[in-house]
Symmetry: C2
Subunit: 326 residues, 2 copies
């Protein structure tokens, strides 16, 4: 099967979106951006062995490559317009392609976004580079730079699940006995099929002062908001929202308690908002700290102690021999 037939069979699907002027078949895809809205663009690459373990199910690889890019749109409060996929594969494996395509389109259909173009190439290393296009009214775009002193810092959902899920995948024997099969499955699902918070992002647009998605770890992603906004933060070290599965694991293995602050791949939203607006916050979220004038991040302990925090999270260029967060 040649390149063109391959693309057509698994990735050339009809698109019902009226904003798509034309798609696969020309040198470019054509999209109509809603009048008065700003185009938002993000591009993230996932590399096998680096962003996901080599034996990850192809369904999950396809799903996650799309999810992490849609999460960037969510963080800006954008609605998706379309996505492209540059797929580099070591060989033409029809079963693999069918499964990967199925994962990709499962999420695409859930959020109502079309695959409008891309590229399929041969490479010794499997990789997927997705570019996601979205749009929002200029006045409603969520930025990293809008955090104000006195703002509350909040996160959606729970964090740390994906990091623990990765531990369970890479070293199943290290999982404490109290973390049962259902809990492990929950954590793996959180790792492999993160739900981009598109709905929540659009609800926060025009409401939150600043936002980012948690891809590299709460502390590291928060530090980007702080740097861009020229502020600092004080955090409650016990306030991070944890799932029952994560709580069970961390109670059995207290040395991992810092992990949910530093591991990535959860793709929840972190945002800041005025304390006056907190009662009417349109999304379910948990307050973890406050924006402060002094640069840097500090734990503010219940007994009054203040402790400086190093925000390092996942660094793609740090030495690594196995998959880590993307």
């Amino acid at each position: 099967m040649n390149e063109f037939a391959l693309i057509a069979r698994y990735f050339d699907r009809p698109c019902a979106d009226a904003r798509l002027a034309f798609g696969v078949g020309d040198d470019c895809a054509g999209v109509t951006v809603p009048a008065g809205e700003t185009l938002l663009v993000t591009s993230d690459a996932l590399i096998a062995g680096r962003h996901f373990p080599h034996d990850t199910a192809p369904f999950d690889i396809g799903y996650k490559a799309l999810a992490v890019n849609l999460s960037d749109l969510a963080a800006m409060g954008a609605a998706p317009l379309g996505v492209t996929l540059a797929l580099a594969v070591p060989a033409v494996d029809e079963h693999w392609l069918a499964e990967c395509s199925s994962g990709f389109f499962t999420l695409a259909d859930q959020v109502g976004v079309c695959l409008i173009g891309g590229d399929t190439v041969h490479s010794p290393v499997l990789s997927l580079t997705v570019t996601a296009l979205g749009s929002a009214k200029p006045s409603r775009v969520l930025r990293r730079s809008g955090a104000k002193v006195g703002d509350l810092i909040a996160v959606t959902g729970t964090v740390g699940d994906a990091g623990l899920g990765l531990r369970a995948v890479l070293n199943p024997s290290s999982v404490p006995p109290f973390v049962d099969a259902a809990a492990q499955e929950f954590l793996r699902e959180r790792l492999n099929r993160p739900r981009p918070r598109l709905h929540e992002g659009q609800q926060l647009a025009g409401f939150a002062h600043a936002a980012i998605d948690i891809s590299d770890g709460v502390l590291q992603d928060l530090s980007h908001v702080l740097t861009q906004s020229g502020v600092g933060a004080g955090l409650n070290p016990n306030a991070l929202p944890l799932s029952p599965a994560a709580k069970t694991w961390l109670e059995a293995e207290p040395t991992l308690r810092g992990l949910p602050w530093r591991c990535g791949d959860d793709y929840e939203l972190l945002f800041t908002l005025s304390p006056h607006d907190w009662p009417s916050c349109p999304v379910a979220a948990t307050v973890i700290g406050v924006i402060e004038a002094e640069a840097g991040i500090r734990w503010r302990h219940a007994d009054g102690r203040v402790e400086a925090v190093q925000p390092e999270g996942f660094d793609h260029f740090a030495p690594a021999t196995q998959a880590e967060g993307s």
Copy 2:
């Protein structure tokens, strides 16, 4: 140096384009698409050892990754709005990054386009995935599907240069003695630094009936136009425009005479237009054939013979052990 510092040093450059609402530093870049214009998007990946030889100069790698994507915008008659780059590198080599960045931005500056976002990741295999964004008035977008029976088929510039340049790079001893150093340098330059025909594409918009860029070979790219338009073509086997360097080589090695029809990577434009419009064609081009009602491609020899042509060009999934066209 961590990932973020690396990105900032070589790829985070100020952008003077007023259409850029915001760039590097947020989860997405924001771009204002000109009112009434359609957004055009294309995404192409270049893999080391597949789309360029491993020892290609990093300047040329950066240049070409951008060029091949801008060429897709050119083929649709679009003006560039911005580009993203997903860069996967085996190691943090500052000299390499500086040179690659220099090549990328040399072309970006020449055509006046900004790098508005992207991703930098670690991978065992070097790859660059560029997404190019452009726009055009809907009525002026050049498509592959518009060729009409009776249209002339024309190409800009000369073709075959990149294919011969690749032969010279991969096997210098195979170059005939008559092809001197200057000619070889010309061919290598055509391979490594193709000039995207953005100006020509915009001039042809609203004038040509159909267009495509020549990335996979004249015959294969023409066949896409024919398929999308539901037509066929008759070609003059002696009409292909050749550079002096290519002519010298092919005269010394007549067995290669078919190569310029089949090798890719020239990034010239192939387009069709009414014969009545040919005298006023706004770009320099050479007529190589005519659109015919019967499907398929035929050589129409001067002596009246008609010969069916197989359009196969470069196939990224065909067995290959060395770099070929992208």
